[in-house]
């Protein structure tokens, strides 16, 4: 299990985590869902070590063991598609880049710049870069936003075959259907609904 224990965090007056604890299975695909702004992303960022907690602790994982997909694509407009992948790979593994692009169905866009891609393609590129980075745990914040449900289902199937546990935030029904575990939230402050 991984998770947070007795976590507290607020942004100004807004309390996001109020002595919040959660256990997340560290196998298969776990989907976190809940209304916008309830604190799902905060949980993910805390697990990735990107969000310092005011009190409480993260257990079962440390930031450098995770690969985190940001809610925004954060692509580099001056780098080609394939370069985004090689940028996170060690030099001796550059030949893997194509495999990661095939996983997200972008293998025909290797030489394009992000400006030439659609919103969904940019999202897939950001996802491929995160997957290529690798780690003990994938933390994906809305990985299929703007991607059509059928393609999203195909991609999550391939991600599952990597045998690395995945925790993702999503609103997509098609992804929720194939998740092994679903945790629903409400808030803020963040509470587990079921």
């Amino acid at each position: 299990m991984i998770g947070l224990e007795n976590a507290c965090l607020s942004f100004g007056e807004k309390v996001i985590l109020d002595h919040f604890s959660i256990d997340i299975p560290d196998s298969g695909v776990t989907a976190l869902r809940g209304p916008s702004g309830c604190g799902k992303t905060t949980v993910l960022r805390a697990l990735a070590g990107l969000q310092r907690l005011e009190s409480g602790r993260v257990f079962g994982v440390s930031g450098d063991q995770t690969a985190f997909l940001f809610q925004e694509n954060r692509l580099l407009p001056w780098r080609r598609v394939a370069q985004h992948i090689t940028d996170v790979l060690p030099r001796d593994r550059w030949n893997e880049a194509r495999q990661w692009l095939e996983l997200v169905e972008l293998e025909n866009e290797e030489k394009a710049y992000p400006a030439a891609l659609s919103g969904g393609m940019c999202r897939r590129l950001a996802l491929a870069r995160c997957l290529a980075l690798g780690g003990r745990l994938y933390l994906l914040d809305e990985p299929f936003a703007g991607i059509d449900p059928e393609r999203g289902r195909r991609i999550i199937g391939r991600i599952r075959s990597l045998n690395t546990p995945v925790v993702l935030v999503t609103h997509e029904e098609s992804i929720l259907k194939v998740a092994d575990h679903i945790i629903s939230f409400d808030g803020p402050p963040l509470t587990i609904v079921r």
């Binding site: 990107l50 954060r74 001056w78 780098r79 370069q83 940028d87 980075l133």
Partner: protein
């Protein structure tokens, strides 16, 4: 079609040049009228006299040597000032303590009259070094300010991405900072080029190095060879404009090249 376009561009480029030479010609003629035929060469020579002086000077053996010496001095000052400005911008952006210590000094350098610096540096160093140091001192604050602004404006989301995706310091510099800083660097260098020429030439006039455009300007004034003074000024302005154009061209190629390949 293409020749019509070229002609149009040439005409647009020449129009302000012809207009201002016309204004100069008229002003020189009015001066000649006001001195009642006693000759206007001491106050405001005609453009043609200046052109004749320029052609005569260009034919002299020492002309190109003088131009080259000034060019080397001022470009050296520019490179020195730009390098120091970049290093200081990195230091002041990385450390609030260094920012607190160094920023006021750089602002003092920017506010100090160039004439004070020229005389002080002349006291401390040899006359040949003064234009280099003065050009560097004028360029440094401009580059420092632009670079600091560029570093602060670098997208924090990209920097967080670089940290999260375990980019090395060099990779972060190469893939994120260099690109983000490029427009600030271009603006700094093109502004600095004009400043370097103005201040460097002023330093040469006051310090009189052996081979220098500034020295020739000073001598022209001393011997009341006013068309020569104008001709040397035309040389300084032309060099500054040509180098600025070259710099803009090189920087635009660098920007364009970055879109094509950065591997």
């Amino acid at each position: 079609m293409a020749s019509a376009k070229t002609f149009r561009r040439l005409a647009l480029w020449l129009l302000p040049v012809i207009f201002w030479i016309g204004v100069w010609q008229l002003a020189a003629w009015l001066v000649e009228l006001s001195v009642e035929g006693r000759g206007n060469e001491l106050l405001l020579p005609y453009p043609l006299s200046v052109a004749k002086s320029l052609i005569r000077l260009a034919g002299e053996g020492g002309f190109w040597k003088t131009v080259a010496a000034s060019l080397v001095r001022i470009l050296s000052g520019m490179v020195l000032g730009a390098a120091a400005g970049i290093v200081l911008a990195v230091l002041t952006s990385a450390s609030p303590v260094l920012d607190h210590i160094l920023s006021p000094a750089i602002r003092v350098v920017r506010a100090t009259p160039v004439a004070s610096f020229i005389l002080l540096v002349l006291l401390w160093t040899g006359r040949d070094a003064v234009p280099v140091i003065i050009a560097a001192l004028m360029v440094l604050p401009v580059v420092w300010e632009n670079f600091s602004r560029g570093i602060k404006a670098t997208d924090p989301q990209l920097l967080e991405m670089a940290k999260t995706y375990r980019f090395s310091g060099f990779k972060t510099l190469w893939l994120i900072y260099i690109h983000s800083l490029r427009p600030y660097f271009s603006a700094a260098l093109t502004n600095a080029m004009g400043l370097a020429w103005k201040s460097g030439a002023a330093a040469e006039v006051l310090c009189l190095p052996k081979e220098a455009i500034g020295t020739r300007i000073y001598n022209s004034k001393m011997y009341l060879e006013i068309p020569d003074l104008f001709a040397w000024t035309v040389v300084v302005v032309s060099l500054s404009l040509i180098l600025e154009k070259l710099l803009r061209w090189a920087l635009s190629r660098w920007n364009g090249g970055a879109q094509n390949d950065w591997s």
